[in-house]
Symmetry: C2
Subunit: 437 residues, 2 copies
């Protein structure tokens, strides 16, 4: 059984000097929030302001944000703030009354999906969306088994944490969760598409041997915590056919790749030429406002709808709908999906150019503005150096983090208004840091 | 085994005439949101604006809101909207950076609890807070068994829905959930305090007989969906002793009663003179902004914190903290807890006066501005008439709903700025409606 690593890029007391006032803040934080919270960076960042692709610390120092995929249309986007304020001052109530806002938003959102994905249900977090998908999959299939990749992340509810190998062995895998190796060439030298599909079938067979029936295969369609695995586009389709052949459903977890980030398409699953049974949405959906949801095929949710009702007090409230609509407006009006494609390609090309000059820089995998770059030593994963690079870049005013089962993969996913000039700044700084770290 | 009833106060097509434009809106809603959503009232309400204790429909008609406990400091309170807007325009990021807002809010919030409840963890919904409490209880006790009342509601995640008998038999009770009769004089004629405690012990014994260990007893401290059961204050303490004796924890679910609603105390558990291991918070916490949390004793969360980390992308973000703080400010500055006490007592007294003149009006149970009134016929529950009263009041411009295992209990829990004049309006209207329905 795979055991997950400690979280990459976590603050560890004493690893580097921290200003006295931040030491006090960290102590106060531990006293108030308890032992389960973690901070980023050897020297935690004390932020006070955000704008576009920039974050500012208490001394007014600017940081180029190449990590935060929640403020996806840019930190504190004025159109989003304005939409939120206007609706919050007018009406902020729930889905047991009629309101046009949720209907207009649902219509605009569903128009971005293939017609078969015709319903949307609203939650507040991606965790809740995936958790709801599990409930609906159980009602539809009569099964309970869930297949995930072996460093997956799907949420923090009890059911989704049991399916999230990346957050550590305390919870995952739960008794009905069956992890399989992530879809990489290393794991499937015989071919990712056929190998990954065969792994799904084998996991379903293991379930059957234990007397369990499959409910679903769930996959983050960019495989972010597995190390960013986008290629070759299309490899996921045979795995989806395999879970359906075994009687289960396919849940596309678009919480990280969705809303245009991968460039060229609005959703990560579209790169694979497949039709999910359910699609979970989250992080960038409200640009920081707690808004998430689940898009479903009607025949998938009909059994659940007949047996159970769904009400999420805050999910789909009038303010959430106004915020969500404004985010879709900004993505369209500012051409952010197209920007993710253009700028993402330049970003990936620049990282590959750097790799030709720096031994420790391995493969870069990317789709739009979702990039993963391996840090290696003699061809082997070098998590220690990846951690040093993350912290050195932070000291140079650039924010990224690390990911992957071995923690050696730099994870880069900036707000979508990221420009070619921002890419240049990143590459110039990274070149310098690589030369000395 | 108890099976839960259909949801009280649910729109059923054809039960009453609905305007053509709302018929179209309902059809559009079903097409977009699917089969699991429900509307209130025979004639669903199309709301466009809220202010204080008032909601307004599309024709500008005012409704006195005596039901919505989320907009607890009043619909669209300007101080809350202003706090949200200011922070959303400045910085809206997460808990892996240092930020003073979350610390200031955590400190103010924890100051409202007994000192032993020293940590707070932030989520977005009450469901997530209860679900996290289950995870922490499992880590602390090594058990999985959960004891709940037999018409409880604790959330919509897979784990909390399995513990929510009130949302129907599709999900609850899950295999590790053990329901017991709610703490009423009818269920425990020998005495509520001793009877309810004995039921907890018996449930723990049933678990042991199945090879399970108890993790927790969870109770909404006002027992809202069980029919509003506040009295006699103190009855809950022996049940808490019983679950601890069996090796489990006590989770006080304050999602509905918390934040001053019960009058005299900030939290429902305080009426019972006990100290919970964990306290879950939700609905009124952000006055509509998706904000919730879990307050815990440090030794309860230490095992969980050692084995697992907790990160909720939106939970405790800078905007959530600013909103939460402004809600605490308004509760204090406008004396809303004290108002809930004074006005709630007058409200309950008025309902008891009406009961002396109207046969169908049974017992009223209340703590502050959380009231439940039985509708009866010859002393027996009359859910049909309760439903008629709810709909007649809606036609008269007053919003309430019904609850309880038999659906015959009127549930009244207005925004806390509710005034004595608002009570008079309710009682005058209710008197008239009772005379003819």
């Amino acid at each position: 059984m795979t055991t997950a690593p400690a979280m990459p890029n976590v603050y560890t007391p004493g690893a580097a000097p921290v200003a006295a006032e931040d030491e006090a803040r960290i102590a106060r934080r531990a006293a108030l929030l308890g032992p389960a919270y973690r901070l980023f960076y050897e020297q935690p960042l004390h932020l006070v302001r955000g704008e576009g692709v920039w974050l500012y610390d208490r001394d007014g120092r600017a940081y180029l944000d190449t990590y935060n995929n929640v403020a996806s249309v840019g930190h504190c986007h004025p159109r989003v703030v304005e939409a939120m304020t206007r609706q919050a001052a007018t009406l902020a109530t729930h889905t047991r009354y009629l309101h046009d806002g949720i209907l207009d938003y649902a219509e605009r959102l569903l128009a971005l999906f293939p017609p078969a994905l015709a319903h949307v249900m609203f939650t507040c977090t991606g965790s809740e969306a995936n958790d709801l998908a599990f409930r609906i999959a159980r009602a539809k299939t009569g099964g309970t088994g869930i297949i995930v990749t072996d460093n997956a992340y799907h949420g923090v509810t009890l059911a989704t944490a049991e399916a999230s190998m990346s957050i550590g062995p305390a919870t995952a895998p739960g008794p009905t969760v069956f992890p399989i190796p992530a879809p990489s060439a290393t794991n499937y030298p015989e071919g990712i598409a056929t190998g990954f599909a065969a792994a799904v079938t084998a996991a379903a067979d293991r379930m059957a041997a234990q007397g369990l029936k499959p409910a679903a295969l769930i996959a983050d369609t960019i495989f972010s915590s597995d190390g960013v695995l986008p290629d070759p586009a299309g490899f996921l389709a045979p795995a989806v056919a395999a879970i359906r052949a075994a009687g289960g459903l396919f849940i596309a977890d678009e919480v990280q790749p969705g809303f245009g980030r991968t460039g060229g398409h609005m959703w990560g699953f579209e790169r694979h030429g497949l039709l999910p049974d359910m699609v979970s949405l989250g992080k960038p959906m409200g640009n920081g406002y707690p808004l998430a949801g689940l898009v479903v095929q009607p025949q998938v949710v009909s059994d659940f709808g007949a047996k159970a009702r769904y009400f999420n007090t805050f999910g789909g409230n009038a303010v959430a709908a106004a915020v969500g609509l404004s985010v879709l407006d900004v993505i369209r009006d500012e051409g952010l999906m197209e920007n993710a494609d253009t700028v993402g390609k330049a970003f990936a090309a620049g990282l590959r150019d750097l790799a030709a000059r720096h031994d420790g820089l391995g493969e870069t995998r990317a789709a739009g503005l979702f990039l993963g770059t391996d840090i290696v030593a003699q061809g082997q994963p070098d998590a220690l150096r990846a951690g040093r690079l993350v912290n050195d870049l932070r000291r140079e005013g650039i924010l990224i983090s690390a990911t992957g089962p071995k923690g050696h993969i730099l994870k880069i996913r900036p707000p979508l208004p990221f420009s070619l000039a921002n890419v240049d700044q990143f590459l110039t700084t990274f070149d310098r840091v690589l030369g000395r770290t």
